[in-house]
Amino acid sequence: MQQLLTTALGGLTLGAVYAAFALALCLIWRSTRIVNFAQAPMAMITTYIALVIIDAGHSYWTGFAAALVSGLLLGAVVERVVVRPVEGKAEINAVILTLGLFILIHAVAGIVFGSRYRSFPAPFGVRGLTVGDTPVALTGFGVFTVLAVMVVMGLLVLLFRYTEVGLMMRAAAFNQEVARVLGVKVGRMLTLGWALAALVGSLSGLLIAGGSLVHPAYMDSVVVYGFVAAVLGGLDSPVGSVIGGMLLGLSLSAVSGYLGSELVPLAALVILMAVLLLRPGGLFSHHAERRV
């Protein structure tokens, strides 16, 4: 029973992190119909930026903010410089491009930051909380992780549903030409989409790193799991991404605890294929019209 609870709570925090990452993928997918395989190394770089700032003696929150801001900038720069030329071209070009970026950022991080492990601080404590007298396997930072992801998801929903910028971003994503003749500055919206996505990606990087160890490859496993989570949720919906992430976190945590950690990637593959083949629109789609 206790093991079940611990596994579940662990899965929930882990799921929140996948959810954040899936949100980032979803944002980019919404704005440019590209899956950004370089999301993980981008987040890794911004986490290192935060670490450098924290190690220089500044507070955790300064580093946190710096990572988010640099994520925003990095996303915008990557979209403008690298991705813009392949937008609207064959899908495969964009995929290869982001994979190239994946390899490049990785190597550059190895050169700049070295490949040793470093610990990354976490606010709100990394010791399990106690409710009454019963200890529960949830840390202050874990609670923060889940809340942060929920808040970000909420903000994104508000942004897309109720603001003009959100509407313009969606219009630009769905139909560039129509959006243009209606006066939407499409290029700017795409840049904004990438920038926001990279910001959310940076957040996921910070949440994974918090209270744990970082090295240039620490986000690599999230590439696959974040993608699976996004697909579970339908790739198009922020809420779906978050639910997908949570479900995946719980399932993988259970697989790792009860079947063996070596089977976790296989479980992710099975879940992904099952969803793609049985419910191509994701678990929460109303109309299964997505072409996968």
């Binding site: 030329p85 070009n93 390899i103 490049l104 496993s221 993608f227 697909v231």
Partner: protein, 364 residues
């Protein structure tokens, strides 16, 4: 993808033949041409192999297995438009099959049969995955094969028989005496095991490329291109989309299986860490660098990936970088080149050269 990237798509010789005679003659002229190229290639390989040292031979063996896998991948990605990030996983299937069949003293099966078996087993696995993959597109197929690439090493760890993290040693059977004699008779030098594996690799590569080249030129190749270029049009033309996709996937994974078999023999071990995501990405960068859809490109790409890291790391060390930093230079160069190729020269090296050549001759 621009159609101009395909090997010899607009080769003047073939085009001339196609126009000049009835269809039968066009078809029959392709095979001899490929075969004579193959013989020429084998001779060139022999000359290179005999005039270079053992280390170069071992590098050539690596180039051979990368080349075989890249050839298969370029057919899938360049010709049929499906992207696989999981070809490393299929190489693992071929490699483990080889390791299992060669286990035993003497091995239960002769070497060519083992190679064929590895290809066949991988082909079957590929068929299963291909049926699922054929229903996916673009980023979805990329993501699914990515998950496959990550999952396979875990599966290997799960089964004790496969040796866990340490993997299985690959016992290379003794080189048959008649081969040693024949090799000595032809080349005048001893055939050491390294060279033997390199020859096997290149023989496998040449056979694979001749088969692939014929497929690409024939009806099957046209079907694949049609599916890639315009699904709707292809379907209207009576092409069964799913079948074409699965076939491309199966052919491509069979190549990966054969490549895995050669790799197992060249590396002498199959372990999960040998089939990391890096391997799959390496293959992809080989075909992108060389030029998608071109066998020559795949070969050039695998040559680059075999010889470039060595060169770049050397340059880095000479420039005074620490070993650790110099070692990161090679992937940095790949990554950058992949990006630049897509942005500047999406046709890859072969495509770009061909375009330049055409422009110079005023054909285009």
């Amino acid at each position: 993808m621009p159609t101009t990237t395909e090997a010899g798509e607009k080769d003047p010789a073939a085009a001339a033949d196609g126009r000049g005679g009835p269809r039968r003659r066009w078809r029959s002229s392709v095979l001899p041409r490929h075969l004579s190229l193959a013989v020429l290639g084998l001779l060139a390989v022999t000359v290179v192999m005999e005039t270079t040292g053992s280390f170069a031979n071992s590098q050539l063996a690596s180039m051979a297995y990368l080349g075989i896998a890249a050839g298969g991948l370029t057919v899938l990605t360049g010709l049929n438009g499906q992207l696989s990030l999981g070809h490393g996983a299929f190489m693992a299937v071929g490699a483990y099959t080889t390791a299992l069949f060669l286990d035993g003293e003497p091995p239960a099966l002769p070497l060519p049969v083992v190679l064929a078996a590895a290809t066949l087993v991988t082909l079957l696995v590929g068929a299963v995955v291909g049926v699922a993959a054929a229903r996916l597109h673009g980023p979805y197929i990329a993501g699914a094969t990515l998950a496959l690439a990550v999952a396979v090493p875990g599966v290997v760890l799960h089964f004790e028989r496969l040796g866990g993290e340490q993997g299985l040693g690959v016992r290379m059977p003794e080189t048959p005496v008649w081969v040693l004699d024949a090799a000595y008779f032809v080349t005048g030098s001893e055939l050491d095991p390294t060279k033997y594996v390199a020859y096997i690799g290149w023989a496998a590569l040449v056979v694979t490329y001749v088969l692939l080249a014929n497929l690409m030129r024939g009806r099957v190749g046209r079907t694949w291109r049609a599916v890639r270029d315009d699904e709707v049009a292809a379907e209207i033309a009576g092409i069964h989309l799913g079948r074409a996709r699965v076939l491309a996937f199966v052919v491509s994974t069979a190549c990966a299986g054969l490549a895995g078999a050669v790799m197992a023999m060249a590396v002498r071990i199959t372990a999960p860490s040998g089939f990391s995501l890096t391997l799959s990405l390496t293959l992809l960068s080989a075909v992108v660098l060389g030029g998608l859809g071109s066998l020559t490109g795949a070969l050039i790409g695998s040559a680059l990936l075999t010889f470039l890291p060595h060169l770049v790391t050397g340059l880095g060390t000479d420039a005074g970088l620490t070993d650790v930093r110099a070692a990161e230079l090679a992937p940095a160069v790949y990554g950058l080149t992949m990006i630049l190729v897509i942005l500047v020269a999406p046709a890859g090296i072969t495509g770009t050269l061909r375009n330049l050549w055409r422009r110079r001759r005023g054909v285009a």
